[in-house]
């Protein structure tokens, strides 16, 4: 057993603390090449990561950078800096600690590169940027340890892939670098261990005591939840009662828009004027920080929030977590529950609030899964190649490189361990020339090979452009929202450009919990005022809509098959009974399809239980097939469980529509114009460095100078369909937003067991779908007809129709 240096153990003793077993474990493994700690919130996880560093620095003074700490949140880096400073000062260690994020002033950043602190706290993006300078080898000289906090969150995104590539680079600079990963509870710890290990350094696993099981229930309300929607406004009185009965409550929502609506309604019902705040990623940073500070002081009784509070920062005395809306994913639910009660070894308390009738089933299934400790997770495939392209460009910024050495370095990163040489060469070729079938840019290559074989930037000034566009977090086109004022009003937050385009002066919308009135667009800023006299439109935020996991969908189908509704509220049981009398309950190994007339339209409802994204894709593919069959579909809507299609003609034979090969053909053809594909392409092309969002001399009014990434996508599809970026886009869309894999799984499972039920009217299960938002119109001749009708109406209304033109 490794003993703590007396200075540190004395400090522990002076506080009356003893070291946790897993902290001792981490200390014992201080010289292991890589260690992953899985510990619940409040388990002194961060201290576990830093103890070996403090012990080492205590024993041996060190020149330069000793430990690098990486967190997914800027705020967390700043918070850890404060929380680490106190013990280091109390122990009396001469250790320099500094943070480096996008918010750090340039002068301090420069100083850090020349004279780094002992402990540097940073984010994956800032680290990537640090490695892009030609003096990186000096900055990182002597680096001994790297601590990756909340690695479970990073490992789910491209940010983690980028980080692992950067670490592979550091490992090449500092061969003795030790890695420590800190993770919340996950379904597959080994997968994360593999993710953060390298070919030569296997990763050991330390599991802390998970603590007592959580106290988790569904919230009971007098009113049953509504049939559809995600607002859960019905639960407001009961939620208020819970807030009153607890010290501090976190109220989690799945989307920012829902958080805004809920906060608005909660505020209207808050007769006792309890201090309640709102926190999400689209709010202005100053506003968020104010809420965070009030929270730390214990001034707030509740915070309505989104995934922006999923991670990190120690939030004082949270004693209740409320999840509004079905959790969609058991693992995330467990992690959120962990936000309540930061005391180790005390059970966390949480309430689930289904937003509608279907979600009652999902919440019930999730509760069972949490009790059974049955977490879900989708295995992640190989690291995406757009991140690889960016990494090649970053490497080029730091100086000339040898292709072979860079490849060897990359396959030393967990997510890229299986990368083959040809894939690497394709990425390198893309970075150098664009990798087009038509040879071009011989004269203007971005990277060129020198006579000595090394690759370098043709134009050294390109390094600045590449650095400015570095990172894997994709901002949608967001516009800032400000109060209208003569000299720049108060910033409130951001809305999507597409949403701003639908506003006309006088329209009102919700942001930061208040209703504001749209006054106009000034340059790239939405100006608003407080005069709100209309019912608000809801701001459309870019937060991801999660699809219900495969595991939860399976559990719901299992619940339906049991036929025992005793664990469910009475209203939900009655609804299920009604469905089984009027139609049939969906079954796991069969596909239930209902058709019925409603409001003079034919409807088809397909209960695929494949999650929102796959059901959405199914809607697109089926309507395309129906159009081909002359069934004249007009539109559809998808939820996590079903797709409802309406049109002019009745479907009588579904079998031909569900042929996997025919659907796949549709996917290939439909790939051409689909917005989901174009969005995925934009993200990939931006990360891979084809699309530059930021330019050194950004022109404010230069909108007509830029053209949309859709044009690049269409051009590539037409002239270079096998281009690398299209391959990357296809692979990512199929696994992500398109989620075709789950459609295939579903079709595979049901084989030809399709039950087509003809009903004389809408079924109890299908009715809620009609109330869902997010209906997708089919853009065919019908859409053109509608546009023509609207244009004509405008011409007539304006009187321009009668003018000779």
């Amino acid at each position: 057993m490794t003993r703590l240096p007396p200075q540190i153990s004395d400090w522990f003793a002076s506080k009356g603390w003893t070291i946790h077993p897993h902290q001792q474990d981490m200390l014992d493994r201080a010289s292991d090449p890589a260690t992953l700690l899985i510990a619940p919130t409040g388990g002194g996880k961060t201290m576990s990561g830093f103890l070996p560093t403090l012990a080492d620095l205590c024993a041996d003074p060190h020149e330069g950078l000793h430990t690098l700490y990486i967190s997914p949140l800027k705020a967390l880096a700043a918070d850890i800096k404060r929380n680490l400073r106190t013990p280091v000062d109390e122990i009396g260690l001469p250790i320099r600690i500094d943070d480096r994020t996008g918010d750090t002033p340039a002068s301090r950043k420069k100083r850090q590169r020349a004279d780094p602190p002992h402990i540097l706290l940073t984010t994956p993006e800032s680290l990537a940027l640090l490695t892009s300078y030609d003096d990186a080898h000096r900055t990182f000289a002597g680096l001994k340890r790297v601590v990756i906090d909340e690695i479970h969150a990073l490992a789910e995104s491209k940010r983690g892939d980028q980080l692992m590539l950067a670490l592979a680079r550091l490992q090449a600079l500092c061969p003795d670098l030790r890695r420590v990963g800190l993770s919340a509870t996950v379904d597959d710890p080994q997968a994360i261990a593999r993710y953060m290990s390298t070919a030569h350094t296997p990763c050991a696993l330390v599991q802390a005591d998970p603590g007592p099981p959580p106290d988790i229930r569904m919230l009971e309300t007098d009113d049953p939840p509504p049939w559809a929607g995600g607002g859960a406004a019905y639960s407001i009185p009961a939620v208020l009662e819970q807030i009153k009965a607890h010290k501090t409550t976190l109220i989690f929502h799945n989307t920012r828009a829902q958080a805004e609506i809920f906060f608005h309604n909660l505020w209207l019902a808050n007769e006792d004027a309890l201090p309640i705040g709102i926190h999400h990623g689209s709010l202005d940073r100053v506003q968020r920080e104010r809420v965070e500070a009030a929270m730390v002081r214990g001034d707030l009784r509740a915070i309505v929030c989104t995934g922006s509070l999923d991670l990190g920062i120690d939030w004082g005395d949270v004693d209740l977590v409320i999840q509004i809306g079905a959790p969609k994913n058991v693992k995330r639910l467990v992690q959120r529950i962990g936000r309540a009660n930061h005391r180790y070894n005390a059970p966390s308390k949480a309430l689930l609030v289904p937003a509608n009738r279907f979600e009652v089933l999902e919440c019930r299934a999730a509760l069972d899964a949490v009790r059974a400790g049955d977490l879900d997770g989708d295995p992640r495939g190989a690291g995406p190649r757009d991140v690889l392209c960016q990494h090649i460009l970053i490497a080029a910024c730091s100086g000339p490189f040898e292709a072979d050495a860079l490849y060897q370095q990359m396959i030393n990163a967990g997510p890229y361990a299986d990368l083959d040489r040809q894939e690497f060469e394709d990425c390198l070729e893309f970075c150098a020339t664009g990798g087009y079938a038509l040879r071009a840019y011989d004269q203007w290559q971005r990277l060129q090979q020198r006579p000595d074989g090394l690759w370098q930037l043709r134009d050294p000034r390109a390094a600045q452009r590449i650095r400015m566009n570095l990172g894997t977090i994709q901002d949608r086109d967001l516009l800032k929202v400000r109060m209208k004022h003569s000299r720049g009003g108060k910033p409130l937050g951001e809305v999507e450009e597409a949403f701003a385009a639908t506003l006309t002066p006088g329209d009102t919308f919700l942001i930061g919990g208040r209703v504001v009135r749209y006054e106009g667009l000034r340059e790239m800023t939405v100006e608003v005022s407080r005069r709100a006299d209309k019912k608000p439109k809801i701001a459309v935020f870019s937060g991801t809509k999660f699809a219900t996991s495969t595991k939860l969908c399976d559990r719901i189908l299992h619940l339906l098959r049991q036929g025992d509704w005793s664990a469910l509220p009475g209203h939900t049981g009655d609804w299920l009974d009604l469905q089984s009398r009027m139609s049939k309950l969906p079954e796991r190994d069969r596909l239930l399809i209902e058709t019925f007339p409603h409001h003079a339209r034919e409807h088809v409802c397909v209960y695929g239980f494949a999650g929102r994204n796959a059901q959405q894709t199914l809607g697109l593919l089926l309507t395309k097939r129906m159009e081909e069959e002359g069934l004249r579909p007009l539109g559809f809507v998808a939820t996590d469980y079903a797709t409802l299609i309406w049109g002019l003609d009745r479907l009588t034979d579904p079998a031909p529509l569900f042929n996997v090969d025919a659907l796949k053909d549709g996917l290939e053809g439909w790939l051409a114009g689909n917005a989901v594909m174009k969005r995925t392409f934009r993200d990939c092309a931006t990360i891979a460095g084809l699309i530059e969002r930021n330019l050194p001399s950004a022109r404010k009014s230069g909108r007509q100078a830029t053209f949309s990434s859709d044009i690049l996508y269409d051009t590539l599809r037409k002239y270079d369909p096998e281009h690398l970026l299209l391959q990357i886009t296809r692979a990512q869309a199929l696994g992500g937003l398109v989620d075709f894999g789950r459609i295939e799984d579903m079709l595979h499972r049901i084989e030809d067991r399709i039950d087509l039920l003809r009903l004389d009217r809408i079924s109890p299960f299908a009715a809620p779908l009609l109330l869902e938002v997010g209906k997708v119109p089919i853009k065919g001749e019908g859409a053109e007809d509608l546009m023509a009708r609207e244009a004509l109406a405008l011409m007539q209304a304006s009187g321009l129709q009668n003018l000779a033109t």
Partner: protein, 216 residues
């Protein structure tokens, strides 16, 4: 007159789906803002290597409009090249394509702000061109009359879609950008709403010539 036809200062003109303008009486086709060589210029200035197919795509569409109309005269309304160096660096096959398109017709390059000088590739070259009741120039002038211009790349939203569009009032017509790699400026931008009279209409490019009061 059909849906695509419009009249300006007594001339009857047709707004083609591609964004080109057809003047039947003169057997004349007019296109604006081709921005040929944009990808090359982007790479030359240290930008990323964009797909190098935009010249081919733009010229293919122009060829198909010429095949369709059998125009005797072609006016390129300025910004035909993304810059003069791009015009010089035109790939040989693109140069041949342009020469083939020019053969047997009158071809006029009007100068734009991106290509303000003579070009070393067939055809006439001028700053502006008066023709009958109309005048062709790159950038609209405040007191223009019977004026056909380009430059602004106008775009209009109708329903959920936004498309390049022709803007027309009693004095002038502004053409959408024809080049493949060109973005657009919404008609609601104050430059455009200031330029166009209160009676202005927009005619959308695309399969159907939707016509609506110009959104401001």
């Amino acid at each position: 007159m059909n849906d695509r036809d419009l009249s300006l200062n007594g001339a009857v003109l047709t707004a083609l789906p591609s964004g080109a303008l057809w003047w039947q009486a003169q057997n004349l086709l007019c296109v604006s803002d081709l921005h040929l060589g944009k990808a090359e210029r982007h790479a030359r200035r240290g930008g990323s290597p964009l797909p190098p197919y935009e010249i081919r795509d733009t010229l293919d569409r122009l060829r198909s409009d010429l095949d369709e109309t059998r125009a005797q005269t072609v006016i390129c309304l300025g910004d035909s090249f993304d810059d003069l160096q791009a015009a010089q660096a035109l790939p040989e096959d693109a140069r041949q394509t342009i020469l083939a398109l020019q053969s047997g017709r009158r071809w006029i390059w009007i100068e734009g702000n991106h290509d303000p000088g003579p070009l070393d590739i067939g055809g006439e070259h001028c700053w502006e061109l008066p023709l009958g009741p109309l005048v062709f120039r790159h950038i609209a002038e405040p007191d223009g009359m019977g004026e056909i211009s380009g430059h602004y790349h106008p775009k209009v939203a109708l329903g959920s879609q936004s498309r390049p569009a022709f803007l027309l009032d009693s004095r002038r017509l502004i053409l959408p950008a024809y080049g493949t790699y060109t973005g657009g400026l919404r008609s609601t931008n104050k430059v455009l709403s200031g330029l166009m009279g209160p009676d202005a209409v927009a005619i959308l490019t695309g399969k159907r010539p939707h016509r609506l009061p110009m959104p401001r």
